[in-house]
């Protein structure tokens, strides 16, 4: 029941937002997302209560018949992994809404309505425990972001967003084929997650199913060589769209690996793991090198995002508890950091009108407060100890080391390369002499300061005191590991 309310708040808010106008829409969306966040905190406390009696279980999950033939249930619930993603989504949404204040946007009501609709679909993806329902939400999440990017995007948006749409939809349709395949090949003829993890299909077919699902997720995450839509889309989408895409939407892919791939086709996964990890590492190194050579701020962050998620995917495919747990923790950390860096990029581009890092410089002198927030976020993304990414990345490295020490070496390389391009970028953009293009740099507005301060606090809070998150994901990592273990 509680999960249903989590799902309904954004949907209702999205419908109401259509009928409001102007600044009011932004305030309304902010209030709605904060209510949602507050409610999430309440659900978290319910979830944490030690007694897992029937009452609590019924509070969190809901399973009603939806379609009789083929058998599809409206089956939603929360476990540690879902709750983590719901927390991430609901934590970021108020920040993303807040980022739009003090900006002139056309047809605000439609934009915010689409954002809230996307919020609804994202929550739906994370709480669905029936494959078909999950698929519907997965597709539904694509439509609002497509229109946000198409209507409010930058140059060349029509071509770029079309590529993005077709690419991801192609992956989804392959996944649909996978689901139909699973439905008729399991004895239970049901797509409920629990049933799918219990009744595995014969190992000869698992490899095929693995690729059907993996392609969909590899496009969404994205893992090289399926990434070509991503840098263009990130740089042409409006800032809030980029924040949604990079902060939350790509987590859909990573989350789905853990939920719908590893436990359902463990033998197929085990068979292809080495190839996938190799792909991830090639991608990580490739993306890092491009990021080092990159001069466009937004594209640089886009490639850095490919590198970071590549590492997470590799850690997940190491198939051990540390890797899975590290992946989960890092998803939360990366979501927060990537939203932070893209927002900083937007503030710079918005004020100077330039996204070329060679034409920037010396912003620190003009706006020391912005420089402070930016360096915190940069250090957070290069995984300095005491910041949030450190814990996740450490556990990922540990998991990869356990899988293969060479793999850990490669993974370590990515951390070093990450520091290289992030710090080089910071040096060129913020430090040094004031570039002639940057003569005035307006100080931070209240909403910008609020967003950046919140992100900075979150970076330190999870870095210094990660215990609640680790406790949240520990049992579910164990469970996923047990379900996907084959020997």
């Amino acid at each position: 029941m509680l999960t249903l309310i989590l799902l309904l708040i954004p949907l209702i808010a999205s419908i109401i937002a259509l009928f409001l106008r102007g600044e009011l829409v932004k305030w309304f969306s902010l209030v709605a997302t904060i209510v949602q966040l507050a409610f999430t905190v309440y659900v978290f406390t319910v979830f944490k209560t030690p007694d897992t009696t029937e009452v609590t279980k019924n509070l969190l999950s809901l399973n009603i018949d939806w379609i009789n033939s083929p058998k599809i249930n409206f089956n939603i619930g929360l476990d540690g992994m879902s709750l983590l993603m719901v927390i991430l989504t609901n934590l970021l949404m108020p920040l993303i809404v807040l980022a739009g204040f003090n900006r002139n946007q056309e047809r605000t009501h439609i934009m915010y309505s689409l954002m809230l609709l996307m919020h609804f679909a994202l929550i739906g993806v994370f709480v669905s425990f029936d494959g078909f329902l999950y698929y519907i939400f997965w597709e539904l999440a694509l439509i609002p972001i497509y229109f946000i990017s198409l209507n409010w995007g930058g140059v060349n948006r029509a071509t770029v967003t079309l590529k993005f749409f077709i690419y991801t939809l192609a992956g989804s349709l392959l996944m649909l084929f996978g689901f139909i395949f699973l439905y008729w090949n399991t004895s239970s003829h049901s797509l409920s997650w629990v049933d799918l993890t219990m009744n595995h299909i014969c190992s000869c077919k698992q490899g095929f199913i693995f690729w059907m699902f993996f392609l969909a997720y590899a496009i969404k995450i994205p893992i090289i060589p399926f990434h070509t839509w991503q840098p263009d889309t990130y740089s042409s989408a409006p800032t809030q769209g980029t924040m949604l895409l990079s902060g939350i939407m790509l987590k859909m892919g990573l989350y789905s690996l853990l939920r719908w791939l590893l436990p359902i086709v463990p033998m197929g996964t085990a068979e292809y793991t080495p190839y996938v990890i190799a792909m991830c590492f090639i991608g990580v190194v490739y993306a890092s090198v491009i990021a080092i050579m990159q001069t466009d701020l937004k594209k640089l962050f886009a490639y850095s995002s490919i590198a970071h998620v590549g590492l997470i995917a590799a850690g997940i495919f190491a198939l051990n508890v540390q890797g899975i747990q590290g992946g989960l923790v890092q998803m939360l950390a990366h979501g927060i950091n990537v939203v932070g860096v893209f927002y900083c990029a937007d503030i710079i581009i918005n004020r100077t009108g330039s996204s070329d890092i060679n034409t920037l410089g010396g912003i620190r002198v003009l706006s020391p407060r912005f420089a402070t927030y930016f360096i915190i976020i940069v250090l957070g993304s290069v995984a300095l100890p005491l910041t949030n990414s450190f814990i996740g990345e450490f556990m990922l490295l540990l998991g990869l080391f356990e899988y293969n020490s060479w793999a850990a070496l490669f993974a370590g390389l990515t951390v070093i390369l990450g520091a290289v391009y992030m710090l080089r970028m910071y040096q060129k953009v913020m430090l040094g002499d004031i570039n002639e293009n940057v003569t005035v740099f307006e100080d931070l507005k209240w909403n910008e300061e609020l967003v950046l301060a919140t992100i900075a606090i979150l970076i330190f809070a999870f870095g210094i005191f990660p215990k609640p998150i680790l406790e949240l994901v520990a049992p579910i990592s164990e469970q996923i590991y047990r379900l996907s273990f084959v020997r």
Partner: protein
């Protein structure tokens, strides 16, 4: 049966309206009449009966499809009020309406035939009415071409059908589908070659009528040349009627003999899917685009035909409903835009989102439904048909269909991109009240069915 008789009466009334000078009230009366017939039709539900010495038989299958056909015709009639506005049209309105009613009669016969004669009669009634309607814009060259082309090609197909019926009659000695079905069951292991040839000829004729590749070449030209409203009728009612008749014919007469035709049906299905989707990619004319999209949808419906052994009639019906409502909404919007801009090219839709955001959003929904994206009925219909085909062992065909769906998304998005990101043209575009209602009703049905399809999944 009553449905058929009353519809024919409405057609006669349409002809007489000319004499009694009722032209002005004709459309409202016909709409009312069809609404009454629609409710009468529901009475035959779960009440199977045969009529006229076994010429026609009501079943849930025929009731469901008749209901859909009546609904489509109702929508077409409502749209026709604001479509036929020129003086030449007004002179002929009663003829047009009467012919539309007879088209519907043909469709109704095709849903409930239980004798080959009735099948042929139904198809001919439907087709001849359409030849006339396709050419009804007398002073337009393209309309003439459409009518003539459709007539010539359609006559060939009818001849094939007739020859097939004759051969099957020669072997079995009966026109009744039960008799032919019995013959097929008794001789399933050793069928007469003439029977097989007859079946194949009938299958070719039906493939022509549903515009499946490689018998699809007439469709784009005819769809483009015919008046837009008639194109809407052809791509919804006629296609669905042809598929229902095809399904009924195969499932009652030839289901055990299909092993011989399997390879033909499979190749045709794959070719239809790929040709329809690939050729649609390069179309600039919106009606042609919808024609090729219609061909590709015929391909998806062919999946239900090739997996006919698993009784896929519910899947076919659900798909037909989803396809019909989305197409009707798309055509209603397209007719409005054609009228305002005077062009049928996709560029007419440029910048529609800025001028009339609601209309653009509606067309977006219709396009997404046709492309098979949730939460619209088109998605669930597609899923259901894929799932049924998969269950009956057609994994490879489902895979082909998935690939062609991916291709299909391109051209549906082309329209959406034109509406949202191209600069606007100067025309004022506003649909009339009737069109607004039709668009709203169709899209609401599409969304409701997409969210709650169980109404139809276990229907038949």
């Amino acid at each position: 049966m009553n449905t058929l008789i009353y519809t024919a009466c409405l057609g006669l009334f349409g002809l007489l309206a000319e004499i009694f000078n009722l032209r002005k009230y004709l459309i409202p009366i016909l709409v009312l009449g069809l609404a009454v017939i629609f409710s009468l039709n529901l009475q035959t539900w779960n009440n199977p009966q045969t009529h006229f010495n076994g010429m026609l038989s009501d079943s849930n299958f025929s009731t469901a499809f008749s209901g859909l056909a009546l609904f489509i015709m109702l929508i077409i009639l409502i749209l026709s009020g604001d479509f036929y506005t020129s003086t030449d049209d007004e002179k002929h309105i009663s003829d047009y309406m009467a012919i539309l009613m007879f088209t519907l009669c043909g469709a109704l016969m095709m849903f409930s035939f239980s004798n080959m004669a009735m099948l042929f009669l139904g198809i001919e009634t439907l087709s001849i009415s359409l030849y006339v309607m396709a050419g009804s814009r007398r002073f337009e060259l393209k309309s003439n071409e459409a009518g003539f082309k459709y007539f010539l090609m359609g006559s060939f197909a009818s001849a094939f059908l007739l020859f097939g019926i004759a051969l099957v009659f020669g072997v079995t000695g009966t026109f009744s589908i039960d008799g032919i079905g019995n013959y097929m069951r008794m001789h399933a292991d050793k069928l007469d070659p003439l029977f097989i040839v007859g079946m194949l000829l009938m299958i070719f004729a039906m493939l022509f009528k549903v515009s499946a590749a490689p018998f699809h070449f007439w469709a784009p030209d005819v769809y483009e040349g015919a008046p837009s409203l008639i194109t809407a009728l052809m791509s919804t009612l006629v296609k669905i009627a042809a598929f229902a008749a095809f399904y009924r014919l195969l499932s009652s007469c030839f289901v055990f003999a299909l092993g011989k035709a399997e390879i033909i049906l499979t190749i045709s299905c794959a070719a239809t899917l790929l040709v329809g989707n690939l050729v649609a990619l390069v179309q600039d004319n919106f009606k042609r685009l919808l024609a090729y999209s219609g061909i590709s949808h015929a391909g998806y419906m062919m999946l239900a035909i090739i997996s006919i052994q698993g009784s896929t009639d519910s899947a076919l019906f659900l798909y037909s409903v989803g396809y019909a409502v989305a197409s009707l909404a798309a055509f209603a919007i397209a007719i409005t835009v054609f009228k305002a801009t005077g062009t049928e090219s996709i560029s007419g839709f440029n910048g529609l989102a800025k001028k009339n955001p609601l209309l653009a959003a509606s067309l977006t929904m219709a396009m997404l439904s046709l492309a098979g994206i949730p939460p619209f009925a088109g998605f669930f219909g597609k899923y259901f048909i894929f799932s049924e085909a998969f269950r009956n062992g057609w994994q490879n065909m489902v895979f082909v269909a998935i690939i062609s769906s991916i291709i299909g998304v391109f051209y549906y998005m082309k329209v959406i991109v034109a509406m949202y990101s191209k600069p606007a043209n100067e025309f004022e575009i506003k649909p009339t009240f009737a069109y607004q209602m039709v668009i709203a009703v169709c899209l609401i049905i599409s969304i409701v069915l997409g969210l709650y399809p169980c109404v139809f999944t276990k229907l038949l």
